[in-house]
């Protein structure tokens, strides 16, 4: 139906003269066809943004495997990392890297902590980069529309079970100077990829797989990934 309407409008266009009218008609065509297209996709997808965010945020503790590629502006090849990612609404986001080095990073609202095997966790120096991590990653993983809308303009696309979300920082938001855009994509209620673009030459790609909801973290995970003291008072 949308295609037929476009053809009809194109015929009208050929008969109309005058630049202003042509521009106006072109704009109308784009807006209308876009709207029709989105509504057609929504019709095909069981998801909408609110439903997706509600589903993603419903799990308060999730564990996934991840692969991270860092593209730096000063280097032609990316640096690759692998590990296990654990999200806990209360304890923060823990990234347990296994390749190429073993290291755990815990991102909390107040600070970023780092621990290498066998050593006590230490607070990482506050820097533009660590502030960025805290501000962006924690907000993103909350999947809270209100939180997102406070800092980003949201564009969502759905195609059956697959979806993608583009977060563009609002001009007056705190994150505007930190990030150019964030792209999140996934399937059904699982996030598959996260791309954080600092600028056109620097970005971080995170591929996420094998996500599973966790009822309760084992003691060893609490100790090693979230740096929580265990009952016997030991710290990693």
């Amino acid at each position: 139906m949308a295609a037929a309407a476009s053809v009809a409008l194109a015929q009208v266009y050929s008969e109309v003269e005058g630049l202003v009218i042509r521009v106006l008609l072109c704009a109308c065509l784009l807006v209308w066809s876009g709207a029709v297209s989105l509504s057609a996709e929504e019709e095909r997808s069981p998801w909408d943004l609110d439903a997706l965010l509600q589903s993603l945020s419903s799990a308060s503790a999730v564990e996934s495997e991840f692969r991270e590629s860092r593209h730096r502006g000063f280097r032609r090849v990316p640096a690759d990392f692998r590990g296990t990612m654990r999200w806990d609404a209360e304890l923060g986001l823990s990234l347990s890297y296994s390749e190429p080095r073993t290291q755990v990073m815990l991102i909390r609202s107040d600070a970023v902590f780092q621990s290498q095997r066998g050593r006590s966790p230490r607070r990482m120096p506050s820097s533009e980069e660590s502030d960025f991590l805290r501000a962006i990653l924690l907000d993103v993983f909350r999947f809270d529309r209100a939180v997102w809308e406070a800092s980003f303009d949201i564009v969502a696309e759905f195609d059956e079970d697959r979806w993608s979300i583009l977060l563009n920082p609002l001009e007056d938001s705190e994150v505007a100077g930190m990030v150019e855009r964030i792209e999140i994509s996934g399937e059904a209620d699982a996030v598959r990829q996260l791309e954080i673009w600092r600028d056109e030459r620097s970005r971080v790609e995170i591929e996420i797989r094998d996500s599973r909801t966790v009822e309760q973290w084992p003691e060893s995970v609490l100790r090693e990934a979230f740096f929580r003291e265990t009952e016997d008072g030991e710290e990693p």
């Binding site: 080095r101 290291q103 780092q114 120096p125 533009e128």
Partner: protein, 743 residues
């Protein structure tokens, strides 16, 4: 006589009024650092300067904040900011305080860090150094947490700042729920006003925290807290002991004599002597250590002794004048030697006692002019009648010798500065707990490496570092930011020889390893500028002076500029075996900061020098006695004095472990009093009179006064009290038996 005595009383009244207007809180000090001599060796001055100028102005605190409760830190930060006595707040679990000076570190990164980097490469070939630099950079970027430095890498491909900041940031300070803090104080930390303001502010903060966040915990410690506890403890004790001694002396006098006249005489003479003693120290010293007044309490015993002798010696004044003046002269000569003692505390005690003695003598004679002396027999009517025990000399003397020999085998000297402190075990426990959370190795020794100027201090530091094998405990290795001047000289020559070869090689290696060379232009631009400046005259001195001026927060504790008499110094924390520490300490300019070891050595030196002074004083006193006494009398008196001191030391050695400086002082005072008793007893024997009541009264009151001192919490005062009371009681007994009672 009455007119002269009236003039004297008026003088005393004038001095007393003057003393009432003295600001005692400002003039009295309870700071242990003030016990050290002014003109001491450089090490002692340095330690004192370190304690007073650096350590005293710092408060260490720990905020335990479970789950990092929202708003908790902001609240604490805001409350601390409102305290007028707090100047700076530095969180030790992060490097914000280092980053406050980020611009300085960044600007000087090549000057401060490149020499060390260059030294770390055995091969000084630009090509291989560049290759190693790029390999290091590659490895570094493979670290997951390297992202925090991404912004800096184009200006610092040699990683001078990341590696440098890691030595400025302490390793693993604080847990995830603990925030360790360093606070710097505004104003003099030893000023009671500052101390009170800090205590009040901290207590208010603790209460507010507990009201808002039940699980939050706030603890703090520091020199200021110890100083305050010490001052409050000693001040309270001075008041308690003074009242107890005064009341007990008056009560004993009333009980034994039951006459108001001797009571009045003792009260007036003791007051007169204290006024004279206090007046003299106030005039001569800006800061009087409160312990000088506590030790000066020995004056009360002698003053009471004079009062009793003068008021009970009915008859012509000359009847008592000989033993009184001979006793005064010998005691005064003895205490005058304290003026030459190396410890300021002993000097002040010497001045206090010496002027107090003169005041006591003059007041006692003045009192005699106004109060008719009582009949000794009348005064002694309430004393229990006890005959002098008659002990055969051939049994007593060998027994005494045996006892002394037994004790001599157990006798040992201990020298511990802590015995001058008011005991605060709870503060020590708190301090240990806080330090355990702030430092990775709280038991590590801190060494101060000193020099007349920066160059000498840095060269000595290089020597110390060469001697140390294995890793250093030091969390913060400031010297890694201060290049050795000799090293900088070698680097200059290398730069001269190699020209731009290193920069060119680095660019090639970066390109080969898939880096965008153009992105590193900020580094190459700074490199060219630095190369031009490094060959300027006095570059090293300017660099170090600028660095010293730029340091703040915990870094300011790490090194200090030399100005005039104050030497330059670096600190380093070393967790090494004692024998290795001793070897390091033997190097020129190395001082162990944990002062106790060092200060205790000084203390031992003071004890041996005091022992020398006392022996000289004893010889002078013996010479005076020898001039005025018959030979037999002289040896009798000498035997009694030496015997009493030996027996007392023997008893104390068997009773508790270790004798110290204050036992020595106590024994000297005891000897002076026993000498007094012997002379009066001898005088009575010459005139075939009974043992003077004044000796019994003086011995009882003096012993009771010093028994009170032995209840002090300050170990030094306690030991002084024990020694004097034992000495006086033993001397009294020996005087009674051998000097008077023998006939």
């Amino acid at each position: 006589m009455k007119r002269l005595s009236l003039v004297w009383f008026l003088c005393l009244a004038a001095v007393a009024v003057g003393l009432a207007f003295v600001s005692w809180s400002e003039r009295l000090s309870a700071n242990v650092g003030d016990l050290l001599p002014e003109g001491e060796a450089v090490e002692g001055r340095l330690v004192r300067s370190w304690v007073q100028s650096k350590q005293a102005g710092i408060v260490w605190a720990v905020l335990h904040a479970p789950d990092q409760a929202d708003g908790l830190w902001s609240f604490v930060e805001s409350e601390l900011g409102e305290m007028s006595v707090i100047e700076g707040v530095y969180r030790l679990d992060e490097t914000a305080w280092v980053e406050d000076q980020a611009e300085f570190w960044w600007r000087q990164r090549l000057g401060l860090r490149f020499p060390q980097w260059w030294e770390g490469h055995a091969e000084k070939d630009p090509q291989s150094m560049a290759r190693a630099a790029v390999e290091d950079l590659d490895q570094f970027l493979a670290e997951p947490d390297a992202f925090v430095w991404d912004e800096l890498i184009p200006g610092d491909p040699l990683l001078l700042i990341p590696s440098g900041l890691s030595v400025l940031q302490s390793e693993a300070i604080g847990g995830t729920d603990t925030i360790p803090l360093m606070l710097t104080l505004r104003g003099d930390p030893l000023d009671p006003v500052v101390q009170e303001a800090l205590t009040d502010g901290m207590e208010a903060l603790r209460i507010s925290l507990q009201n808002e966040w039940a699980e939050a915990d706030w603890r703090y410690s520091g020199v200021v807290r110890f100083a305050q506890a010490n001052r409050q403890g000693i001040s309270a004790e001075v008041g308690r002991l003074n009242v107890a001694i005064f009341v007990s002396v008056l009560a004993l006098m009333f009980l034994l004599v039951r006459s108001l006249k001797p009571l009045l005489a003792v009260a007036v003479v003791v007051a007169g002597s204290v006024v004279c003693g206090a007046g003299a120290v106030i005039v001569l010293y800006d800061q009087i250590h409160v312990l000088a007044l506590v030790l000066g309490a020995i004056l009360a015993g002698i003053a009471a002794d004079y009062a009793i002798h003068t008021i009970t010696g009915k008859g012509a004044l000359k009847g008592i004048l000989f033993p009184l003046l001979l006793g005064f002269a010998s005691t005064a000569i003895g205490f005058s030697l304290f003026l030459a003692a190396p410890l300021p505390l002993l000097q002040q005690t010497g001045v206090f006692v010496l002027s107090g003695l003169a005041g006591a003598l003059l007041t006692a004679l003045s009192v005699r002019a106004w109060l008719q002396p009582a009949d000794a027999a009348l005064l002694g009517r309430h004393l229990p009648v006890i005959k002098a025990p008659r002990l055969p000399v051939f049994v007593t003397v060998p027994a005494i010798v045996m006892l002394v020999l037994l004790a001599a085998s157990r006798m040992e000297w201990t020298d511990d500065l802590r015995m001058l402190e008011y005991p605060t075990p709870e503060l020590y426990a708190l301090e240990a707990d806080i330090q355990a959370q702030i430092h990775t190795a709280p038991d590590a020794e801190v060494l101060l490496v000193t020099g007349r100027d920066w160059r000498e201090a840095r060269e000595r530091l290089s020597e110390v570092l060469q001697r140390l094998d294995g890793p250093l405990d030091s969390a913060i290795k400031i010297w890694e930011w201060i290049p050795d001047p000799a090293l900088l000289g070698d680097l200059e020559a290398w730069l001269e020889r190699e020209g731009d070869a290193f920069a060119e090689a680095l660019a090639c290696e970066l390109d080969r390893a898939d880096f965008e060379v153009q992105a590193f232009e900020p580094f190459f631009e700074d490199w060219r500028q630095w190369r031009a400046s490094v060959s300027e005259p006095n570059y090293w001195d300017r660099l170090v002076a600028e660095t010293s001026a730029a340091l703040s927060g915990p870094l300011m504790l790490l090194f200090s500029a030399g100005d005039g008499e104050q030497p330059a110094w670096f600190t380093l924390s070393v967790d090494k075996a004692p024998e290795q520490l001793a070897q390091l300490e033997a190097l020129p300019g190395v001082v162990r900061h944990s002062q106790l070891t060092h200060l205790n050595t000084l203390f031992a030196e003071y004890r041996s020098s005091l022992m020398g002074l006392i022996l000289v004083a004893a010889a002078v006193m013996a010479a005076v006695l020898f001039a005025f006494l018959r030979v037999r009398e002289f040896f009798l008196v000498l035997g009694v004095v030496c015997g009493a001191v030996s027996i007392s030391f023997a008893m104390l050695s068997l009773w508790r472990s270790g004798l110290d400086l204050f036992d020595l002082m106590g024994a000297f005072l005891g000897a002076c009093l026993i000498l007094d008793y012997s002379l009066f007893a001898l005088n009575a024997r010459r005139h075939q009179r009974p043992m003077p009541v004044s000796i019994h009264l003086s011995a009882v009151t003096t012993a009771s006064s010093f028994l009170w001192l032995s209840s002090s919490s300050v170990a030094a005062v306690q030991h002084l009290g024990q020694t004097v009371s034992v000495c006086v009681l033993v001397g009294w007994l020996l005087t009674w038996i051998f000097v008077h009672g023998k006939d």
